[in-house]
Amino acid sequence: MTAAPTVVKPGTTPAESYRLTGELPMVDQAAVPFIEIETVRAREFIPAAKEAFSAMIVEQGQSKVIRPTFNWAGRNSLFPLHWGLACCAIEFAAAFSARFDAERFGIVPRSSPRQCDLMIVNGTVTWKVAHKLITLYEQMPEPKWVIAMGNCATGGGPFRTAYSVVPGVDKLVPVDIYIAGCPPRPEAMIDGILKLETLIRERKE
């Protein structure tokens, strides 16, 4: 991350200053303890394997066998990050308990971002948690997806004009699926994940 101090114009708002400068609304970025992460992907440990892998991807990436197989494997074992930000996390938890049992779709929450390929942002994202959210997102290996669950993660929800709330998590990380509701019911969350599976099925690159 750059250490250049952000110039915040007086009279601007946190969201506006973030939109203008692309930096979180801090006076001094260097003052923020930001954990720098080198994303190391498993297949990069062995250069030979990496070469073989990428050659295979380049040659057969568009083929009718390899890509659909990867997509099939990926979409049937989506591992979301097991974390909760606010009240939506209750519905997130309910979706994985006995009644709704999201595990029947192969969705298993994992506690480490390094084992995840799906981040479900389930709640209000504050500016204080923004760094941690970006850090967790960067720790996840590719390919990865983000679901914004609930009105807060989608656009700030009831707190969209608040001084401490990021008006939509798409200001921080790219979002694939938005789920409306305050909070969305577990059915809605499962529906969002199934829609994401449709997206993954059509993934080409």
Binding site: P14, A15, E16, P25, M26, V32, K128, Y163, P167, L199
Partner: protein, 158 residues
């Protein structure tokens, strides 16, 4: 305890730094004092009047001045007392209450970050609710909330 009792007990200690004691519903009274008297008043209120628990520190931005107030609780009298001081708007600062009441620590951090009230000799005046280096004091009246139409929605091609 009544406002008169408070005034009688505090007047010898503070002299003209005590600006008055008013009735305040639900409490023993609202003590208004000059900011220079802060530590003397806190010690007197804790040690002599028995308000041993500080339950909150708050502030109000009145635009022309800034008010800081402390709410303390006494187990013996089973009453609250409010101590309030007016600070100048251009450089609002007051002595920290942490040497008297330890619990003032986080309350003062919050009052500082939201209302820009400086607490002198505070042991650890960092941000509490907002991230480190946050550039605003959002509960000031000069802070403006963003308008909904400033928001934009980005789309990502899949």
């Amino acid at each position: 305890m009544q406002p008169d009792d408070l005034a009688k007990a505090l007047a010898p200690r503070l002299g003209d730094r005590l600006l008055g004691v008013e009735t305040f519903v639900g409490t023993a009274g609202r003590v208004r004092f000059r900011p220079e008297a802060a530590l003397d008043l806190f010690r007197a209120v804790r040690d002599e009047l028995g308000f041993r628990h500080l339950s909150m520190v708050g502030g109000i931005d009145w635009v022309d001045h800034r008010e800081v107030f402390y709410v303390a609780w006494s187990d013996d009298a089973r009453q609250y007392v409010i101590l309030s001081a007016d600070l100048p708007a251009d450089s609002p600062h007051i002595e920290s209450a942490t040497p008297v009441w330890e619990s003032a620590n986080w309350h003062e951090r919050e009052a500082w970050e939201l209302l820009d009230i400086g607490f002198d000799h505070h042991p650890d005046l960092r941000h509490l609710l907002m991230p480190d280096g946050y550039a605003f004091h959002p509960l000031l009246r000069s802070f403006k909330l963003h308008e909904p139409e400033e928001l934009e929605v980005k789309q990502r091609s899949v």
